[in-house]
């Protein structure tokens, strides 16, 4: 899968939104992680948008964990947007991934950081 199409970064309300698209697994997680860390400054706040992520395995989880850690290290508040009904949210909750950071969608994430 073309990694260019798996990461989209844009600015909203002065925050950076990192949208991850499709399946993030052992095959592409390292590339996704590299792209994200290179493309995000993490100056003000970051939303990792998983609303269009269809699958996340343990490699994807690891990649997500590292991104969040890196953003925090740069001093930016971070939120992870994953819809409650989705399989990705289900995976995050199964593993107990950073429950304080989880929000329903980008809008609520931005509102929380404003």
């Amino acid at each position: 899968m073309d990694e260019e199409r798996q990461v989209r970064v844009f600015t909203a309300n002065g925050c950076e939104v990192v949208r991850l698209l499709g399946e993030i697994d052992h095959a592409n997680a390292p590339l996704v992680e590299r792209d994200v860390l290179a493309g995000v400054r993490a100056a003000t706040g970051v939303v990792v948008d998983l609303t269009e992520t269809t699958f996340l395995d343990s490699a994807g989880l690891l990649c997500l964990d590292r991104m969040v850690t890196a953003f925090s290290d740069r001093g930016a508040p971070v939120r992870v947007a994953a819809p409650t009904d989705g399989m990705v949210r289900y995976t995050l909750e199964l593993i107990g991934f950073l429950p304080d950071l989880l929000t329903e969608n980008v809008e609520t994430a931005l509102a929380e950081m404003a």
């Binding site: 052992h26 343990s58 593993i95």
Partner: protein, 705 residues
């Protein structure tokens, strides 16, 4: 009156005038009488067209007005039971007198009762305000049927001719009334007999003891009673009551006083015809109370407030007694039926509630639907048992008859089939032994059954049908076929002889067998073959429907929406789909996406739900990723084997590699993968020998996320 002879008599003028006046008056009287006789004849004709005694009033009143200028005509009929005169409703020149006249006792000193006693006209002279009255008895021979009273205009004088004419009216009307009475009696008998017949039939069609009691009061109102109330003595329970109409003028019903109740019970315990007990409440309400009795016991009471209808008018005491007895018997039958049904149901439930053998190589589901509109349980049964370590026997049977006898016979036959099928070899042998068994067990004779034995290792199915509809086989892909071979007569039937045979067919893994009783395929208005075709089409359509849902779907679709008219039982067996999911995944991470998609599709085809599917796919992919990463060190040549199998209500997955186990370089990675698997699967076993095998199992369909 002799004709005057003018030539022989000489009159002076005054006498002549007087004579002429007399002549004129005479002629007028004669004319008037002639008119009255015509009117009388007209009235007789009108009376002839009458069918009910009450209708006699109109022609008489008409005649009274036309012939005698009567200002008011009143009619009383002799009361059928009491020594009294009963007034008929009045429609006359005094509508304000709407109030019903009371009964007049025959001992009354008034003119009406006197006319009855005298069998002749009674005249009451008028005064300045009221005119005279004439009361005439309505006579049929020497029998009085009623009286008529004409009220005449004040000052009106009656001569002998007129009185005689009124006598004639009384006789003519009496005869007409007598004819009507005869007609009414015949009609009454027909009506009452018809009513009782309808009542009995209607009650018989009503299910249950209290159901019947409720129906009974509904049926009595309004034809027989304006209000009906049943009080039942249910053993060990406070009084049970049903009333009709529920929103009537007696909310909550009547409380029957103890003395009345005692009298009713005494009347009910005798073997002779019951007599009704009259109840006159303190507030003036009147009712009739009858015992509901059956088999020398009083079940309760029936209270009736008379209705003002034609049929109720004629409901004599004998009729009410007959009615109460029929009702009592019908209720008692329902009560006994319920008791038997309860025992039979308990027995049947205990027999049908089987624990089926747990064997991952097959799965079974059963359904039982009792007939609607029937109080008694049927003798349908099903059973599943291991005939050996490698084979399973399934049977569906139908005992002749219903009720307790059929239910207990079913239990014995079921045990016999189990014992004989395990001890002997094959369906034909079983049927031969069952024939011997029912030879000394009359209740089991003519039982029909379908028996099949499936070899779990080879898939060979041996089967035989004794007078039973054929088993239905649905092969993978939804191809249905009936097993029409090996048919012979019901158990113990002489015609069947001992020509028991069996047939065998090899069924592939993933096949489904459906056994059933005829209640599933016997539907009014549908030919048997059409019903079989419909069942086959349904089973084919539902071939992927998981077994637990199948039984309900088939029963619902085959039976009429209100339920079948016969009991139905059904047994479906799935010969486990042993074609598992197999994949050899190249040892590179980019192969994971394809594996996930393929496994997800395979699980979907087998009806595994969303979260279960997701969980199984994710866990499998994690295990494969582990193998690739740690077992093979990214050696793409050697694939990772994946095998998944749906096993009843769970899915088992095996992921194996032949690589050398190495401790993970990054603890976090492996930890997260295994942690995920642990949370997603109910069982996890990691076997590290030559290579690594991960065995996982997840229970499906338990409604969790």
């Amino acid at each position: 009156m002799p004709e005057p002879q003018p030539d022989m008599t000489v009159f002076d003028v005054a006498a002549r005038r007087a004579y002429e006046r007399e002549l004129l008056a005479e002629r007028r009287r004669a004319e008037r009488n002639a008119t009255r006789i015509r009117l009388l004849q007209e009235m007789v004709v009108r009376c002839a067209a009458i069918e009910r005694a009450e209708q006699i009033r109109d022609p008489i009143a008409w005649l009274g007005g036309e012939a005698f200028a009567a200002t008011r005509t009143r009619v009383w009929l002799l009361h059928p039971q009491e020594a009294a005169l009963r007034p008929l409703g009045h429609r006359d020149a005094h509508p304000a007198d709407g109030a019903q006249d009371p009964l007049i006792s025959l001992d009354d000193p008034g003119p009406e009762a006197r006319a009855v006693a005298r069998l002749d006209i009674v005249r009451v002279d008028g005064d300045a305000e009221d005119g005279p009255r004439v009361v005439m008895p309505l006579l049929a021979g020497r029998r009085v049927l009623g009286v008529v009273a004409f009220a005449l205009s004040p000052g009106c004088a009656l001569d002998d001719d007129e009185i005689e004419l009124m006598r004639t009216i009384g006789r003519q009307t009496g005869q007409a009334l007598d004819r009507i009475r005869l007609l009414e009696e015949t009609t009454r008998q027909d009506r009452l007999a018809g009513f009782l017949a309808r009542l009995s039939r209607d009650l018989d069609e009503t299910v249950g003891f209290t159901g019947r009691a409720r129906r009974l009061v509904e049926l009595l109102v309004p034809d027989i009673a304006a209000y009906a109330q049943i009080d039942l003595d249910l053993a060990g329970e406070p009084g049970w009551r049903s009333v009709a109409p529920a929103d009537g003028p007696h909310p909550g019903g009547w409380t029957i006083p103890h003395d009345v109740l005692a009298a009713v019970h005494t009347a009910g315990r005798g073997s002779e015809a019951v007599t009704a007990v009259q109840l006159l409440a303190a507030d003036g309400r009147r009712a009739t109370v009858l015992p509901l009795r059956a088999r020398n016991a009083v079940l309760g009471t029936l209270l009736l407030v008379a209705a003002d209808t034609a049929i109720a008018d004629h409901a004599c005491p004998e009729f009410l007694a007959d009615l109460a007895d029929r009702a009592g018997l019908s209720l008692d039958n329902a009560r006994l039926g319920e008791r038997d049904r309860e025992v039979a149901l308990t027995l049947q439930r205990s027999l049908l509630a089987g624990e089926w053998p747990a064997d991952p190589r097959y799965h079974v589901v059963t359904a039982y639907r009792p007939a609607v509109h029937s109080l008694e349980v049927g003798g349908d049964w099903y059973d599943v048992f291991a005939t050996s370590a490698e084979s399973v026997g399934i049977v569906v049977g139908d005992v002749v008859g219903r009720g307790l006898r059929a239910a207990s016979a079913m239990g014995q036959l079921r045990s016999a089939v189990r014992a004989l099928a395990t001890a002997h070899d094959g369906p034909a042998e079983l049927l031969r032994h069952m024939d011997d068994f029912v030879a000394s067990f009359a209740a089991g004779r003519m039982t029909t059954l379908a028996y099949a034995e499936l070899s779990l290792a080879t898939g060979v199915l041996r089967y035989a049908c004794a007078g039973h509809p054929p088993p239905l086989l649905v092969e993978p892909g939804g191809v249905p076929s009936y097993l029409w071979e090996a048919r012979s007569g019901p158990l113990g039937a002489t015609a069947a002889g001992r020509a028991r045979s069996e047939a065998s067919v090899r069924v592939p893994h993933g096949s489904r067998l459906v056994l059933y009783t005829d209640g599933l395929v016997e539907r009014r208005g549908e030919r048997f073959r059409d019903a079989l075709d419909r069942l086959a089409a349904l089973a084919a359509e539902h071939w992927q429907t998981p077994l637990p849902a199948l039984a309900g779907r088939l029963s619902d679709a085959m039976l009429p929406s209100g339920g079948g008219h016969d009991d139905m039982c059904l047994l479906a067996l799935d010969y486990t789909d042993a074609a598992p999911f197999r994949a050899d995944v190249p040892a590179r991470m980019s192969a994971l996406a394809g594996l996930r998609a393929a496994l997800d599709a395979w699980l979907g085809e087998r009806g595994v739900g969303d979260y279960d599917r997701f969980g199984i796919v994710l866990a499998t992919a994690e295990a494969v990723a582990n193998a690739i990463e740690h077992g093979y060190e990214f050696d793409e040549v050697r694939p990772v084997g994946v095998l998944a199998q749906v096993d009843g209500d769970s899915v088992a997955v095996r992921v194996s590699d032949s690589g050398k186990w190495r401790p993970p370089r990054v603890a976090l990675r492996r930890g997260r993968g295994l942690a995920l698997i642990g949370r997603l699967m109910d069982e996890l076993v990691i076997d590290r020998g030559t290579g690594t095998t991960v065995l996982m199992r997840r229970r499906t369909g338990v409604g969790r996320r």
